[in-house]
């Protein structure tokens, strides 16, 4: 038997790949291209409309310069509302993180080994998460009335689901060695969580929470439009009344706020995590 025959016999998949291995890639690529073209056709996409719209967009951007809140009093009103938006995001995100902590532990296979608990908590978190922040805002406005409180509740509810899932996944991916080390000393289940699991996953969780704080500042703008407090309502109003100088001022303020939050959270993460980078999400 020659060397080639022996290798062919031992590794059949390498010398004679199956049809799936050979044509899987091109078939998938073709499928994606087809669905893309089909989707564009179905939604009435036409390059002509984009070209026509470009002029409109140009006019709008032209009107945005210079960004101008009109008066100092208006500027203060906008900045105040922006502060409210940031506060909504902050309260909603961190309250959600605190409430999601026990749920995350409950939904983690390596903490609660019970299949039924695991299934129920996972599906529960998924269904909360499946409803978008904007829809929660519409619901909460009907429950507690218009204003920032509804906004905080909207972000809180939708993020409990997200954090619960992210936390439970971080916990499940935690290093098993410290857990065994802690357990081998005669430690109980609470020591196991406090010392075996949390020190390793806390930086990951913190990174996720800070990232969501920044992202929720943008979400809080949107839910403001439906009346859940903050800058969103002003933004929608100025767009409606075609006051594009005001719109530009508001948009730039939001961008600045998000940039500041991003910078602060980056430093905070670095300070707590130390030198090692921890991936978010």
């Amino acid at each position: 038997m020659t060397e080639l025959e022996r290798l062919k016999r031992q590794h059949p998949a390498i010398f004679a790949p199956s049809i799936g291995q050979r044509f899987g890639g091109p078939i998938a690529a073709g499928g994606i291209a087809l669905s893309l073209i089909g989707g564009l056709w179905h939604l009435g996409f036409s390059p002509g409309r984009i070209v026509d719209g470009m002029g409109q967009l140009g006019t709008m951007i032209g009107l945005m310069f210079p960004p101008d809140p009109g008066s100092f009093a208006r500027a203060m009103i906008y900045l105040n509302a922006l502060g409210e938006t940031v506060a909504i995001a902050f309260l909603g995100t961190f309250a959600a993180a605190i409430l999601a902590m026990p749920l995350g532990l409950l939904a983690a296979k390596n903490v609660v080994a019970n299949r039924i608990v695991h299934f129920l908590s996972r599906r529960g978190l998924d269904s909360i998460r499946g409803v978008d922040t904007l829809i929660w805002a519409l619901i909460w406005i009907n429950v507690v009335g218009l204003g920032p409180f509804a906004g905080v509740l909207a972000i809180l509810t939708s993020d409990i689901g997200t954090f619960g899932k992210l936390f439970s996944e971080a916990i499940e991916a935690a290093d098993k060695r410290p857990v065994e080390g802690v357990l081998s000393t005669g430690a109980g289940p609470l020591h196991r969580i406090r010392f075996g699991i949390l020190p390793g996953v806390f930086p990951v969780m913190l990174g996720q929470v800070l990232y969501y704080f920044e992202s929720n500042t943008r979400s809080a703008t949107i839910i403001g439009i439906v009346g859940a407090g903050g800058i969103g309502l002003h933004l929608a109003e100025q767009i409606r009344t075609l006051e594009f100088g005001h719109v530009a001022f508001i948009v730039l303020s939001i961008l600045a706020a998000v940039a500041v939050i991003d910078a602060i959270s980056g430093r905070l993460r670095f300070a707590i995590i130390g030198k090692r980078a921890v991936p978010v999400d």
Partner: protein, 276 residues
């Protein structure tokens, strides 16, 4: 006196530990030797009950260990400290608190969770660290230490448990020769001075012979040698390590190795020539 009889652990149909019987008198330094996969690690983990036995019994004094649960199991684990190949410290916790985790069974849970250790416990932790020459590292995060230092922290943690037995699972397999000697010396000193029984897994036969009062050889989950280090002849050692190699590869070593190695040598030689 630790008394193991007919102890078995099956993973699926594979018996990692197969009807092992062993009796270890208090104060002995026992080396468990054999190739990786021989079941040494599982044996030690069964004794600490990190693995659940599939059958057989483990007795310590009058107590049956294999059926303990809840608080009684925690009490047993506290008496039977474990040192791991990968140290198994809490990396992001400082060294002192890692050592103090050795007190987690005796200190009330609420105090332990808040790290409110008593002055006496702190002093005990520091003096354990000092005995191991790493007292100055007490405030550092465990993950910043070298492997040899981390293993000494793990030994200090074990000491704080005030154990009757220390189970060391390949404690030097991740260390360089100098650190290996420091760690083995520490274990032997603890054994001689405090009278703590030590069961230590190793695959290095020379180290095992140098440190242990008694050697237990394992292959395929069974005890195949049990006696004084001097009693282990070279033939027996070769059998202990060679027997399994043949079995794993499912061929006799004589026919497999020379052919494969010759072929390998030719190929690499050819590639080197082609590269130049």
């Amino acid at each position: 006196m630790l008394e193991i009889s007919g102890l078995t652990k099956r993973f699926g149909t594979h018996a990692a530990v197969n009807a092992v019987s062993l009796s270890v008198p208090a104060g002995q330094f026992v080396g468990v030797i054999g190739r990786s996969g021989a079941g040494k690690s599982t044996l030690l983990r069964l004794i600490n009950r990190l693995e659940e036995p599939s059958g057989g019994s483990i007795r310590f004094g009058d107590q049956e260990i294999s059926t303990l649960s809840g608080r009684a199991l925690r009490a047993w684990r506290a008496r039977c400290a474990m040192v791991f190949q990968q140290f198994n410290l809490v990396g992001r916790l400082d060294v002192l608190n890692n050592v103090l985790l050795g007190r987690s069974f005796v200190v009330p849970t609420a105090r332990a969770l808040l790290k409110l250790w008593s002055v006496d416990d702190r002093a005990a932790a520091l003096s354990a660290l000092e005995q191991l020459d790493i007292g100055l590292l007490a405030a550092q995060r465990a993950e910043t230490l070298s492997g040899g230092q981390q293993q000494r922290v793990a030994i200090a943690r074990a000491l704080l448990q005030e154990p009757d037995i220390i189970l060391a699972d390949e404690p030097i397999a991740s260390l360089d020769p100098r650190n290996s000697r420091v760690v083995m010396d520490a274990l032997r000193q603890i054994n001689r001075e405090l009278g703590i029984t030590v069961l230590c897994n190793m695959h290095d036969l020379d180290v095992a012979k140098a440190y242990c009062d008694r050697l237990v050889g394992m292959a395929q989950g069974r005890v195949v040698f049990d006696g004084l280090p001097e009693a282990l002849t070279e033939d027996e050692a070769r059998e202990l390590y060679g027997l399994e190699a043949a079995d794993v590869l499912d061929m006799t070593p004589e026919t497999l190795q020379p052919v494969a190695m010759a072929a390998e040598g030719r190929r690499f030689a050819g590639r080197r020539a082609a590269a130049h």
